[in-house]
Amino acid sequence: MLKTTTNPTTTTEKAAAPAKDAAARPAALPATVLDNLGARFRPGGLFLVMLRPDGSVAYHDAASGLFFQRYVLPMIQYAEPSDQDLRKRIAALTATSPVEVWNVLPGITLAAFPHVEKRQVAGVLLLAGKSSGFRLGEDVVRVCSRLGIDCIWLGQQSESLSTYDDETLLRQARLLHGMIRDQVRVAGLEQELDSLSGQLSNTYEELSLIYQISGGMKINRRASDFFKGACVDVMGVMNVRGMGVSLLSSVHQQEPVLYGSLGLPPGKVHRLAGELMRLMGERKGPLLINDLHRDKHFTWLAEYAHQLIAVPLMRQEQVLGCLFGIDKTTGGVFDSVDSKLLTSIANESAIYLENSMLFDDVHGLMMGLLHSLTSAVDAKDAYTCGHSERVALLSRHLAQHAKLTGHEVERVYMAGLLHDVGKIGVPEAVLQKTGRLTNEEFEQIKKHPEIGARILQDIKQIKDIIPGVLHHHERYDGKGYPGGLAGEDIPLMGRIICLADCFDAMTSSRTYRKALPLEVALTEIRRCSGTQFDPRLTEAFLQISGDQFRELIRNHQEQTKRLAEKAQTLRVA
């Protein structure tokens, strides 16, 4: 800025006012793109300017020389009424205008073309160079005096600059035009790429969520545990404050299951669940409410929440329940992305729920049949009433103490239930005999494990429990029946049921004696450890406290009573 002093300050002051306004409005092209382009044309003595459609300067190459900064830029900025040519030309530009050369500024060759966005003129690009006919003629001097610059100084500034005739500048401007087009295209593609990557990222998120949720769909798992896991996962991905699941009461005899902080009093939770179930039954599609204050159904909920999303859990046109979420934690709104995601989770869950219902159904039927069968057995002998059920429960308890897996524990329970099923084949006269049994009668009794095993042998789903039924009268010392197996040769199930069976026999009243007190029975069990019973199982058995035994028995007294009544009716019939 060597020649600053030659410039009256008035011009700069004048420049400040209109520029302020204009700066508030963004340029159609990013400044970084324009800087980059300006730098490429600068060495050739060219000056890049971008105007807004109204003619105000949106960008100029601020690194260009003083010739452009002091002479060309002010002419473009403050085209005076006498220089209306430039304004008229800018106004006349349309989206389809080609690159043109405008000889409207004294001593300057100026190329111009529109910058088009969405088929509208979004700006005007100007490329200015020193005209090949530049001289300090009358027109240049007049402009200099108007701008308050020394024209001799201007002449010096212009000396080193390349000159341009119309053709050369046009070529350069077309090059610039092509470069801008490419840059815009690249910027557009980059933006598109980011948007696609963002969508892909969401898809990954959803896919990973669905993987995780499907992984939790274990048929023998409780539906509420499954939904809890699913809700927690969804809450994280969708950024919601609270989630809930409401199921038809015929599907699931439970309160609505809730996760996260819904912040609703219990009564309101029921109301929400009830209203959602009714609405879902009507619309059978997702519900999105981003302003609860204005919703006619849920104004009452606005006190506790702002936003609500719900989707039905549907199987074959039947609404089994619904999945709902409250309030975005990120401050956004529930949109179609959320409802699509929640719907796919709901669809997966509904399949699971239906399977789980079918499983429960079949399982219930099977257990019902098993209990009926056991009642039929117990009914043959009034004094063994409820015995099978108690042995089953005790065996299950013992299996748990012996650290068997959940599945094994359930199989032990089933084997316990069925352990005496073979008594069906033993004459009632023998079973109910109160006096001492003859050898022959005892031999008949001793057949019941084998008869039981034969009764069950054709049901492939319970083949694994047959060893429990067949070997529950084996003794650890090998003196039992029917196999005379000893030690670990006796299947574990058999050893477990044997203990439970003997314990229940001792603690129940018989025709020939009253029930033994708990302590006496336990002492007897301890005494027979290693001879009749597996010592390790005995150890586990004795660790079960008396309270636990009493509780176990008390808990099932009702059931035993019911079974006894049933057995009574069966006998009478």
């Binding site: 790429l193 990557s197 990954y204 998120e205």
Partner: protein, 126 residues
């Protein structure tokens, strides 16, 4: 805290895009490489704070890349997160002497990846 640099290496460009977008939006500087060799050279030059690499890559596998970085004192402190195909698990012998702190199976959750990155970086800083 100064801007952390993360190098992401994967021969599948869609993974690179998803991972870099997520990390850039979280304020990290992200470098990308499309094969193990390119990643190795970039890591030696740029010394990133963290490496996220795919297992299966042309030229140099993710494991070989990590081992090479571990052997060079200049890059031996760069922690790594490895991406593997679902159902594919690495033996402890594979990950020994490799600086691999976490493994994620594809398709991974970008949100989970980001939290893993933050966890690893805060652990490395402590």
């Amino acid at each position: 805290m100064s801007e952390r640099t993360i190098l992401v290496a994967d021969d599948e460009s869609h993974i690179l895009h998803v991972v870099s977008l997520k990390l850039k939006n979280a304020g990290y500087r992200v470098l990308t490489a499309r094969d193990g060799q390119e990643a190795l050279e970039m890591a030696q030059q740029e010394k990133p704070d963290l490496l996220i690499t795919d297992y299966h890559m042309p030229q140099l596998s993710g494991i070989e890349l990590c081992r090479k970085l571990k052997q060079d004192p200049a890059t031996s402190n760069i922690p790594a997160i490895m991406l593997t195909a679902r159902g594919y698990s690495l033996e402890p012998a594979d990950t020994e002497q490799s600086g691999i702190l976490r493994m994620l199976s594809k398709p991974f959750s970008p949100r989970h990846l980001l939290s893993t990155v933050e966890e690893v970086l805060s652990g490395a800083a402590a």
